[in-house]
């Protein structure tokens, strides 16, 4: 029997899967706030929260992309990092290393993206993951 998909179901099935790396005290509260305000984004977006974006291993980004994620979004601390004053530089370096690893495996560099997300950045987070999901969907098409 043919099932007619609802708009939400059709959107979900078409929506790329995105792994977000967030940080416990900066970007993850911002992502929580997006939910608290019922700002919608695709349920294909899932989050792993860490203490600090400078602790993300480039191999984790590659691992995610090799295991079915369409994209990885690093919700970085920016200048707000409570641990490391050079966190932005470090996390940018981690993304570059990940892209080098991805290139070795024929994975396009634009499947990983990083942006600073603060603890109250509900709208910026939602906008970023929607735009990233759309860009990934277009790339797949």
């Amino acid at each position: 029997m043919t099932k007619t998909l609802t708009t939400a179901e059709a959107s979900r099935r078409a929506s790329p899967r995105v792994l977000v790396f967030s940080t416990n005290t900066i970007s993850d509260p911002g992502i929580d706030l997006a939910g608290s305000r019922h700002l919608h984004y695709s349920p294909g977006v899932v989050v792993i929260s860490l203490p600090c974006a400078s602790g993300i291993k480039p191999s984790w980004i590659l691992h995610a992309l090799q295991h079915g994620f369409d994209g990885v979004f690093v919700a970085a601390d920016g200048d707000e990092c409570a641990y490391l004053s050079d966190c932005s530089v470090r996390s940018a370096g981690i993304v570059q290393q990940a892209q080098a690893l991805m290139a070795e495996h024929g994975i396009a560099a634009n499947r990983v993206k990083m942006a600073a997300i603060c603890s109250v950045c509900a709208e910026p987070f939602t906008r970023q993951v929607i735009e990233f999901s759309e860009a990934l969907a277009e790339a797949v098409v």
Binding site: P43, P51, D79
Partner: protein, 574 residues
């Protein structure tokens, strides 16, 4: 891998979760996962009765892993760690999975998608728990003394509070006198008491307490040791500079702010008669009978708000205290000379809370408020006739251009971070993009920093008025008491750890750690890295730099994160 016995509890949160996530379906999807021996849904996981049920389940089923899928870990991690502890299970074998803020509430438009996502999230939580290890908090004995850096109103009040809860206090002030900014102030809102009198009272209270030792002309030069037991080096510049060593368990930083200093030419600054807010307040405080400037009676004052604050280039933040301080100053001026004309040119006025009443009173007493457009700020000039004028556009009358002759123009300047490179270098406190010290979390941990036992209070962490500053100083007192009164401090054991078999000691981890938590040691005759667990902050910044992958962050190990990724990537059939 040995088998585990994991219990999973999936919360309805009333309907906050279960209105959008089919929690029974989530339970059914994970109940047969390897190692899962208990899988239950619960209306409120955090309710006392449910917590007791969990304790019972842990004990009856001899669980060695606990997963609660509910709200954000920021809310209940400690609650459920407590459940585990009460049941005799190591609290670090517990994982909280966020299926509310990051699932049900974000996907109210897609219940099927939210349910699918919840299954992936819970499976990832189980995978993480499966690889968890029992950990013990790091215990350190603490020194029952606190160093307060900064002898302004915040530091003075904090020192008194600390002494009164039975802690020894070293109060370090860089200037020759205690008191800071408030010692220079006359009448302050909302009580109209003079700042200098408040400071005199506080200093007298400090002198009355023998457990407070005051060092003026003193600066912190070095700090070593770790949380609960810091050894500090303080330079005291009384005649011959002298270095003294003080042992303390915690440090309260209350170093205050600097006033924004406009550039010459900025809103006419440099022209005679153009003053900053602190300069104008000093003029008011020294005036009796009438307001005079250079011997001439002042008939008209124009205030320009937000000078140096909320700028696209420079200080982007609102300095918060200056609107109310200026409105209060205008009331003092009206007391001195009720006939004096006062014009307030503002972008926005924020006399928040009870200070709104001062704004109303100021208007009732004749002050005129005019809003100028952000892109057309007022212009200050002194014409050929010698008359000082301010030209502005009044947004609320259709942008009409007005020229106001004024005897004085007051630039309402805010607070800027006080530069203190030595202190920043010694304490390694993180600085925000605004230049002020950063707390861990503005709401949940507002005076703590990532440097354990180093607390920040007052305006060194951002603009505040004096009552807010004192409140944060007393919060730092409470936090110091919580740390030091037990005599023993527990540190979170989620720190870096080295696999010495894999480590080849290249030194990269030592180079990358700004906290000096990595040391070279030897194991089996080889040079390897070792982590000082009481110094490590648990950021994980050393883990990606290790070329051998020999460093793991406890609670976030390589194996755990990879297992989570694999489970999150699986698409369940719903």
């Amino acid at each position: 891998m040995s088998e585990r016995r994991i219990g999973v509890f999936i919360c309805h949160c009333g309907g906050n979760i279960s209105d959008y996530v089919d929690v029974a379906q989530v339970r059914d999807a994970i109940k047969d996962e390897p190692d899962v021996v208990v899988a239950q849904t619960t209306i409120f996981a955090c309710a006392d009765a449910t917590q007791q049920d969990m304790v019972q389940a842990i004990q009856d089923e001899q669980l060695d892993g606990l997963v609660v899928a509910s709200c954000s870990p920021k809310l209940h991690t400690f609650t459920f760690r407590g459940v585990a502890k009460r049941a005799g299970m190591n609290p670090y074998l517990y994982t909280q999975v966020n299926i509310r803020e990051q699932d049900s509430w974000a996907h109210t438009d897609d219940p099927v998608g939210a349910t699918e996502k919840a299954i992936r999230l819970v499976k990832a939580g189980i995978a993480k728990t499966r690889l968890s290890s029992p950990l013990e908090p790091i215990e350190v004995e603490t020194t029952p003394k606190t160093m307060v850096i900064g002898g302004g109103i915040t530091g003075l009040r904090a020192a008194i509070g600390l002494a009164d809860i039975g802690l020894g206090v070293y109060l370090i002030e860089r200037e020759p006198e205690l008191g800071g900014w408030v010692a220079q102030f006359g009448a302050m809102y909302p009580h109209e008491r003079k700042g200098r009198e408040l400071i005199q009272e506080l200093v007298a209270e400090v002198r009355r307490r023998p457990s407070i030792v005051v060092f003026t002309k003193a600066e912190l030069m070095a700090k070593s040791g770790s949380f609960g037991n810091y050894l500090t080096e303080v330079r005291v510049n009384s005649g011959v500079p002298d270095l003294i060593h003080l042992e303390v368990g915690s440090i309260v930083v209350a170093t205050g702010f600097d006033a924004y200093q406009p550039e010459v030419g900025e809103y006419g600054y440099g022209i005679d008669g153009v003053l900053t807010l602190p300069e104008f307040k000093a003029l008011i405080d020294s005036s009796e009978g009438s307001l005079t400037y250079h011997g001439r009676k002042v008939g008209t004052v124009a205030y320009i708000y937000c000078v140096g604050s909320r700028q696209p280039e420079g200080n982007a933040y609102c300095s918060r205290y200056c609107c109310a301080a200026t409105v209060h100053a205008s009331l003092k001026v009206a007391e001195i000379d009720p006939k004096l004309h006062q014009y307030h040119l503002y972008r926005d006025i924020r006399t928040y809370g009870k200070y709104e009443l001062m704004y109303t009173e100021s208007r009732e007493r004749g002050s005129v408020y005019m809003k100028f457009p952000e892109d057309t700020p007022p212009a200050v000039a002194r014409g050929a006739s010698g008359q000082l004028t301010v030209t502005t556009h009044d947004t609320l009358t259709g942008g009409e251009e007005l020229t106001i002759p004024a005897d004085l123009v007051v630039l309402v300047t805010g607070m800027v971070p006080r530069r203190n490179d030595t202190l920043m270098s010694v304490l390694k406190l993180p600085i925000g993009s605004d230049g002020f010290f950063n707390e861990i979390h503005p709401k949940l941990r507002p005076v703590e920093t990532v440097v354990d036992g180093v607390l920040i209070a007052g305006t060194c962490q951002g603009p505040k008025n004096s009552s807010e500053s004192v409140a944060s100083g007393l919060a730092a007192v409470t936090q110091s008491g919580a740390i030091l009164k037990k005599g023993v401090a527990e540190l979170d054991p989620l720190v870096a750890t080295v696999n010495t078999t894999a480590c080849t000691w290249c030194g990269k981890c030592e180079e990358t750690c700004p906290y000096a938590a990595v040391e070279k040691t030897s194991a089996d005759g080889r040079e390897v890295a070792a982590i000082n667990a009481t110094v490590c902050k648990g950021c994980g910044g050393c883990t990606p730099v290790c070329p051998e992958g020999a460093i793991d962050l406890r609670g976030y190990t390589d194996a755990q994160i990879q297992a989570m990724i694999e489970n999150l990537a699986e698409v369940p059939v719903v």
